[in-house]
Amino acid sequence: MSLNGWLQILLFIALVLLLAKPMGSYMTRVFERRRTWPDGVFGPVERLLYRVTGIDAEHEMRWTEYAVAMLAFSTATLGLTYAVERLQGLLPLNVQHLPGVAPDVALNTAISFTTNTNWQSYVPESTMSYLTQMLGLATHNFWSAAVGLALAIAFVRGIARRESSTLGNFWVDLTRGTLWVLLPMSFVFAIALVSQGVVQNFRPYDKATLVEPQTVTGADGKGTTVTTQVIAQGPVASQEAIKMLGTNGGGFFNANSAHPFENPTPLTNFLQLLSIFILPAGLTVTLGQMVGSPKHGRAVLAAMTILFAIGVTTCYWAESQPNPLMHNVAQQRTEQQSGGNMEGKEVRFGVANSALFATVTTDASCGAVNAMHDSFTPLGGMVPLVNILLGEIVFGGVGAGLYGMLVFVVIAVFIAGLMVGRTPEYLGKKIESYDVQMSMLYLLIFPLVILGFAAVTVMMPTTGLSVLANKGPHGLTEILYAYASATGNNGSAFAGSNWNTHWYNYSIGIAMFVGRFLMIVPMLAIAGNLARKKIVPASAGTFPVTTPLFTVLLVAVIVIVGALTFFPAISLGPVLEHLLLHAGHAY
């Protein structure tokens, strides 16, 4: 670990906290349909959209109608992506003449991008045409993020409103989030990325002549001489911008944000990190403003920051350690190198930025990577896994992070109520058995899917285990990570294994689907139920949700729920691998 590394991490978190207020205040204005400066540009587009599609912008929806509209929209967009993937061979902008995508991959990918997961079982540069990337995938980066935003706002309205049966209008929230927030920010960000070297073109792949031709020995022992290098191109910057801002994470290239064309400089890396956290951090301010308690928003933000700090410290420390199995290798940090575990990391990012990125991308449900998590040290790789298993509520995905966190808030308030022996209240609303039941349902679906699928998979030697890239406890971690990433809609992977098989494509598809939509329904049910309630005046028995005590309780609840659920699995994976590594075992 170095001073410079820590300075970069501190600058990052300082900027996130600084930008949260303006970002959050802007989103409050946008979703409360107050006047904002881009009204002149997007107002006409908004009205045109409503007129053509027949949306009644003044109509208010109950939680059930909100859910139906959201599901109808998600299904329609899923259908479009599946069709574009299957038909790409017949469509334009296919400079590499790629054939239509196979059905299981196409379905897995369509679900993956619809659910904001962006799990990728394929190699993009040899599978997807430019049109598919733009029209089939980048569109989902907008849509799924806007859906997340809309749902978070609906949940916040549920807390804010009193004796109301409705949560707002899904279509209006979707449109305002897309046009006022995601689209303009992506545009500016994309241009900034191009200025640093992120490519944006429709060229056929370029073919360079190698400066030094290479002789490669194949598996059959025969040598072949390679004289050229094919350089994949594409409209990358436009997709990269929304991939990060929308916490989607699906790379234009296989190597994702490690690829020099997606993330060429330390500055693009820093901006990408900021763009993952800026909307989720801002939403805590929006929460505070909309429920009329900015201090509550800050208490939630503080809890997130504490959990982030623990994660990044652990990961940075672990990745700075040498691999004890390597000999005659200089792994210490010096003036000339950052040292540490450099397998699967880029020189321009080094250990500090790789550890920071891995923590941020899994705190949020982003899933973009600038280093390969599969090659992290056991404890370093445990951090992203644990982040996902906690539910990605540390800042979290756009929207999804906030509503996930608010479910934990309900549980924390409930536990506080039990401790003082009073009916728990949250911002003046009584938390009753229905709310707690739905919260528990939300919290239980998640481990059930992850541990269930992982357990079934490890019992199938051929279908489940033969595809793994690494053996020993690391193999178990790979499987756990895959289902955690899918169910948590993260999309990053311990990517060495061949996940592109029928079993994994379909089972991971189901996990992504359940992890998104089956969890949204209980969440909206809580929101709908909260909106109906009266406000009870605060009394001496009310547990305040604005104090440091509340922040500590919230962090404790998150950690304890996570630990109780996943500790056995974690100890058989990364913890065991760590012990074996230092005992000198390799597999």
């Binding site: 949306i55 329609a76 944006q200 073109n201 490669v216 910057a237 330390p266 321009r348 090659s375």
Partner: protein, 187 residues
């Protein structure tokens, strides 16, 4: 229910044109206008033909060139198949591969770690200053150039942290080797 299905289909079609076509095309237009070289991938041409991109690494394994890092992209630095090795720290394959690299690179002192480990993309254009300086004696001997001038060339090609803070110091291997060729040609 039926109403929302109709809206969903129309809404998907309209916004897909806006977000899937108009937006990327607008970004492309502005990018081409402001940053044409960057938008195309900072391609390097020499004597009229393309020799690579300043951002994408190339394989160098001969003794007369500065070596790049091991690569897991395709058959190595295949920029249409970017990938890391994804080998675990407890993987025998990783330890064996590293030992082979160490044997190939070693000049007595321990080898800088980045020179014997594969990058995340398999296309890492850079090595650390430590890895570049480590190779100076071998390259200078093979090229019959004074060690001092090769070392000076490396020092010239060190890119410092961006804005004095971000990232890590690094050396672009392709650019360094092209400069080395130019220096050797001048004699």
């Amino acid at each position: 229910m039926k109403k929302h299905i109709t809206i969903a289909i129309l809404y998907t079609l309209m916004t897909s044109v806006l977000l899937g076509l108009a937006y990327p095309l607008a970004v492309t237009a502005v990018a081409r206008l402001l940053y044409p070289k960057q938008a195309d991938g900072e391609l390097i041409t020499q004597d009229g033909h393309l020799v690579g991109s300043a951002l994408i690494g190339q394989p160098f394994t001969g003794p007369g060139y500065f070596h790049s890092r091991p690569s897991a992209a395709g058959i190595g630095y295949d920029a249409s198949a970017s990938s890391g090795s994804n080998l675990a720290p407890t993987s025998k394959a990783l330890i064996d591969r590293t030992e082979a690299s160490v044997a190939a690179e070693q000049n007595g002192a321990p080898v800088p770690v980045d020179l014997v480990t594969a990058s995340a993309s398999g296309l890492d254009p850079d090595i650390t200053p430590a890895a570049a300086l480590y190779q100076v004696p071998r390259v200078a001997a093979k090229r019959h150039l004074p060690v001092k001038s090769v070392e000076a060339l490396v020092q010239e090609h060190i890119t410092q942290r961006q804005l004095g803070l971000l990232g890590e110091p690094r050396v672009n291997v392709l650019e360094l080797n092209l400069a080395l060729d130019a220096m050797a040609a001048k004699g």
